[in-house]
């Protein structure tokens, strides 16, 4: 009996995890299904675009700027070991647009947006505002989740694009003012070695990460437990699960995009 206890616990945990994956998949399916069916709430989408896109710009921009700068320093000192300092501009550009722009952008948005969505919707749940929506003939999924998921899926690629540009600018600043690159050569090398799909794949990743972030925020918010503790737990779970899923999705998408 006691020998089997760890096995039973493991089984329960596995079943629990599978059940929540199933529930999240169903939730995602429902959100996507409602995207194309009226009623639509354009005002809510616009509001969410502002909250998720516009107000995330400073944070994403700062992250990208420092990362681009640090990347330039790292590649310069690393490249010096085999006299390849000249690759700094192109590696910074490729590294930013393919990987760091979308992943760091996605993570910053997860921290900022998944938490605030989960806390807001979770509070609405525990104060019966979600029940009130239902009694006022409004589908909470459609009114709360769909606009946020749509807005995040549209806004994060734009944030990633802006982050890419700022990250490359950070690399350029460090390259020119710290590492004595020639400004024109640096920019030329950046542009020459960058292919469209480098940028495009990063933007697609951004859209996927935006979807994940808003989905996790909404799902955990709507399933929040009771009271302030419930909302706190929902918020934490939303951020953690969004971040982990971003890393997993990033690996999967990279595998799909760049191996063949």
């Amino acid at each position: 009996m006691s020998l089997l206890r760890p096995v039973a616990a493991l089984g329960r945990a596995t079943l629990g995890a599978l059940a929540s994956i199933g529930r999240i998949a169903l939730f995602a399916g429902a959100v996507i299904g409602h995207l194309f069916r009226p009623p639509f709430y354009p005002r809510e989408v616009l509001h969410a675009l502002m909250q998720i896109g516009w107000f995330s710009l400073p944070v994403v921009g700062m992250t990208a700027l420092f990362t681009g700068g640090a990347l330039a320093l790292q590649i310069y000192s690393g490249g010096a070991r085999f006299s390849a300092e000249a690759v700094v501009p192109s590696i910074v550009a490729i590294g930013m647009v393919r990987e760091l722009g979308p992943v760091l952008g996605g993570l910053m948005v997860a921290a900022r947006v998944a938490s605030s969505i989960a806390a807001e919707i979770g509070t609405m749940k525990v104060t019966e505002q979600i029940d009130a929506l239902v009694t006022l003939s409004t589908n909470p999924l459609k009114y709360l989740a769909v606009p946020r998921v749509l807005a995040a899926t549209l806004a994060v690629p734009v944030l990633v694009a802006v982050g890419d540009a700022i990250g490359i600018a950070g690399g350029w600043l460090v390259g020119v003012y710290r590492l004595d690159f020639n400004s024109t050569t640096y920019l030329k090398n950046t542009v020459d070695f960058l292919e469209f799909w480098d940028v495009g794949s990063g933007l697609v990743k951004g859209a996927a990460f935006g979807f994940i972030v808003a989905l996790m925020g909404c799902y955990h918010g709507m399933n929040s437990g009771r009271g302030a503790q419930g909302v706190g737990r929902a918020t934490k779970t939303a951020v953690v699960s969004a971040s982990v899923l971003i890393f997993a999705a990033n690996y999967l998408l990279t595998e799909i995009f760049f191996t063949s």
């Binding site: 009623p39 104060t127 029940d131 239902v134 009694t135 409004t138």
Partner: protein, 248 residues
């Protein structure tokens, strides 16, 4: 007519409703009394389909609410939640006019706002609160805004969960009169939860007392004082001694 037959609901091991049988005729006012935590709010939520009963049936005009067309069903209802449940992201008037600004009952913005201000007036709130946000109001004011929202689209059936809790006696009187008026003049069906015996006498046609998950007593308000049921007697006179244990 709303009819509940053998409705059971548990949360985990907490058996809240243990076989509720209740009938509310159209155009009448039913008041539900009972100690706090006895499941009165859960009962209303079951009728609205916000909580799904484990067993039993709930009928609205002889149609099972579980199988009824949801939108048409909900369009007939108004609900005042115990905690108010106002949307704190929007100003008071948009809360009140929520139903009038979207969906099947959508109206022009000006008209919706005018209706909202009129409903606010009926719950004793001036037009100056219309553009305030719920968080800027006192608890009693929030409750009244929520009441205005519940009646904004003139629903046929209205549920009030503790409408006068947190209000001063005069304002309670105003709200009691309003609820009575909605039933007698507009022919609405009302179910009200309250602990306030003055409200019970002012609002009710019939009274049901919930105790230990069942309807302990149900009858016309005129017979309430005369009943020999010791539970009802203890409750309406607010005695600490009696069959209802104070420790729950």
């Amino acid at each position: 007519m709303i009819e509940l037959v053998g409705v059971h609901k548990s949360f985990g091991s907490n058996e809240v409703l243990r076989g509720i049988d209740l009938r509310v005729e159209s155009g009448t006012s039913m008041v539900i009394i009972g100690g706090s935590g006895t499941g009165k709010s859960v009962l209303l939520k079951c009728v609205l389909g916000l909580v799904h009963p484990d067993r039993g049936r709930i009928l609205l005009d002889n149609e099972d609410v579980e199988t009824a067309e949801r939108d048409a069903f909900l369009a007939r209802f108004g609900m005042l939640f115990q905690g108010g449940a106002l949307f704190d992201s929007m100003p008071v008037w948009e809360n009140v006019a929520f139903r009038l600004l979207r969906g099947a009952t959508k109206r022009p913005k000006d008209e919706a706002r005018a209706i909202a201000i009129d409903k606010l007036r009926r719950v004793g709130l001036g037009p100056q609160v219309a553009d305030q946000f719920p968080a800027e109001l006192s608890g009693g004011m929030q409750k009244r805004v929520s009441l205005a929202r519940a009646i904004a689209a003139d629903p046929e059936i209205i549920f009030f969960d503790e409408p006068t809790t947190g209000l001063d006696p005069i304002m309670s009187g105003v709200i009691n009169d309003l609820i009575r008026e909605i039933v007698t003049e507009m022919g609405a069906t009302a179910m009200t939860i309250t602990h306030d015996m003055t409200s019970v006498r002012a609002i009710a046609d019939n009274v049901a007392m919930l105790h230990r998950g069942k309807i302990r007593w149900c009858g016309p308000v005129s017979e309430m004082d005369a009943t020999l049921d010791p539970y009802v007697q203890q409750f309406i006179h607010g005695r600490a001694e009696g069959p209802i244990e104070a420790l729950r």
